[in-house]
Amino acid sequence: MDESCALSSASPNSLSNLFTFVLATYTTSLRQEIEMAETLLYNALKEAIDEEMARDSQVFVLGEDVGHYGGSYKVTKDLYKKYGELRVLDTPIAENSFTGMAVGAAMTGLRPIIEGMNMGFLLLAFNQIANNAGMLRYTSGGNFKIPLVIRGPGGVGRQLGAEHSQRLEAYFQGVPGLKMVACSTPYNAKGLLKAAIRDDNPVLFFEHVLLYNLKQDLPSEDYVLPLDKAEVVQEGSDVTILTYSRMRHHVAQATKLLDKEGIGADVIDLISLKPIDFETVGASIRKTHRVIIVEECMKSGGIGAELSASIMDRFFDELDAPVIRLASQDIPTPYNGTLENLTIVQPPQIVEAAQKLATNRL
């Protein structure tokens, strides 16, 4: 059953109900998190950078407007005052070249953190990311390592138009030598970014434009999270839901309803998009035998495409039903709000897919 096809033939009326639902539930969930919360996600990221810069003088930040302006989402606000303009380097708008510069600095002993003002702009640096950051360690036969973090906002925001609403994971996942991580809460944002900075490999670190204002209580002591471990968000025995980044929060909306209906979802936030933590994924599939993948990436050649192929390779005998992939439509993200909402997966689709799998109506 292909959910996205079902969606494009749905009547406009049921679609508009869908949006009312999405908006209402999404804003309540944000509010709930805010009430119990302490640290905003963008500040959690800033704490991670600040702590790592204090800990290791080789660590520095570079990118557009990271210094005086404080970063387009304020992740590096005022850090230049503390560390100076060379350690928080405002660059000209020259993505390919400053990314290449960071590779050179990393090869020669520094630990750069590149902020992509929007991750989409790194398309201009694709060559340096793929050929140099990704492949150079191998090409050089292990002569050099590239301890580099490339981080920044991405994903589909609110009516930002196609170029600023990119789903880049798909483009980068084929590049050998890159690690890819997607954070989704203030807690994991901080712990994962610190780990990424300490890692000796190039790490693409995805943040989502619509998650910067999430709030959460954070431990006051120093903590670092493993880069290669998925996070079990909730346990259940009926169906496995694999997701990451903002879609984790759409899944949370869906599971509220599913819980009420007695459908137990085992929700896993992948965290590491490359490599995938198949240990955690496999343990869940052995329990539920049914899988839904929920992603914001495009359906063709996306993370879900790769993931479902790997699940087939590794766990085919465990599956009681075909894997369902809920992904974005294969179109440039449209500006119009209605079309944009239709482009990405909405919670009712997740509910519907889980119901179908749970009752074996496939």
Partner: protein, 345 residues
């Protein structure tokens, strides 16, 4: 800290201007249209009628009107994310630009593009490009097309010129230099128009470039480069006319650096905290619309009443555009995939 001193604006004597009454009024009307349209956008954005990143052009009108109104209707224009006013100068009706901002099916990009992606093949508007500098190679390609038609296909009518608009920030990107080289190498009919408004979001121009006088970068490519007071539409027009004539004659490209200023923040989401009051005051005092109005009246080319009449007429055009945008239909959800491929008309 930064940019405390203003660059000396190149002087231009109005005696060099010799603009006719008719042309003067066309240019005046175009600038007023740009200004009032953008003011309306701010209002509509705050009223929740348009979304995303909206970059307004207030203050820079002399560049768009000065260049585009010195060109022919069949010439090409390319722009950036700050593209509403270039679209208007290129002749895209205000209602189609406003409808696009409202995400409607009647917008010039059918509601798919939004503020940063205005397109109109009918008006040879090659588009608003949201990524810095990416419009430069595209515009260079359009200019190559003119040369190709004229020289490879022998079409004597293929003398269209392309105007490529971008900012000071874009002039530090590799695409700028690569295209300057190719355009000069092949003598392409193109105007590279840098709107140097001193800032790239929060990055002061002087902090981003080793040689702040951008027009000088033309010289190493053996290309004509000129600086012009971008707050004086008559000066911009004079420079543009010369560059257009050179391009049309097959004598190659020109790099025009227009010294200008944006009167608002980078986008409607920008708190605009880094620019000093002294700097803003320096430029506010050089409002290009007031300057042209004063000139037209001094030279007895128009009366105050006439100019007021134009303002009223433009205001009505914009109200009509808003009405049209509001009443226009949303794109049909069943057409989500329309325009992905060339077969979709």
């Amino acid at each position: 800290m930064v940019q405390e001193r203003e660059r000396v604006l190149p002087s231009f004597s109005t005696t060099q201007a010799n603009i006719t009454r008719e042309d003067g009024l066309i240019v005046y009307e175009d600038m007023v249209l740009g200004r009032l349209f953008e003011d309306k956008c701010a209002e509509m954005y705050y009223r929740g009628k348009m979304f995303g990143f909206v970059h307004l052009y207030n203050g820079q009108e002399a560049v768009s009107s000065g260049v585009i109104k010195a060109m022919r209707k069949d010439d090409y224009v390319s722009s950036t994310y700050r593209d509403h006013v270039h679209a208007l100068s290129a002749g895209v009706p205000a209602r189609e630009v406003m409808a696009e901002l409202f995400g409607k099916a009647t917008g010039c990009s059918k509601g798919r593009g939004g503020s940063m992606h205005m397109f109109s093949s009918e008006h040879n508007l090659l588009g608003g490009y949201a990524f810095v500098a990416e419009g430069i190679p595209v515009a260079t390609g359009a200019a190559f097309q003119s040369k190709y038609r004229r020289e490879a296909l022998g079409d004597p009518n293929a003398d269209q010129v392309t105007a490529c608009f971008f900012g000071d920030g874009a002039s530090n990107n590799g695409q700028f230099f690569e295209c300057l080289n190719m355009a000069a190498l092949w003598k392409l009919p193109i105007l590279f128009v840098v709107e140097n408004n001193k800032w790239a979001i929060g990055m002061a121009h002087d902090r981003a470039t080793s040689q702040p006088e951008i027009y000088k970068k033309a010289e190493v490519f053996d290309m004509a480069g000129v600086e012009v007071d971008g707050m004086d539409v008559l000066a911009v027009r004079a420079v543009a006319q010369e560059a257009v004539a050179r391009a049309r004659a097959g004598e190659g490209p020109t790099l025009i650096e227009a010294l200008t200023y944006r009167f608002r923040g980078h986008s409607l989401a920008d708190p605009d905290e880094l620019r000093s009051k002294a700097e803003k005051d320096f430029w506010f005092a050089r409002d290009p619309i007031k300057r042209l109005a004063a000139y037209l009246m001094e030279q007895n080319l128009a009366t105050q009443e006439e100019l007021k009449g134009i303002n009223r007429r433009i205001q009505a055009t914009i109200e009509e555009a808003v009405q049209f945008g509001l009443e226009s239909p949303e794109p049909d959800p069943s057409e989500l995939y329309r325009f992905v491929f060339a077969e979709d008309k």
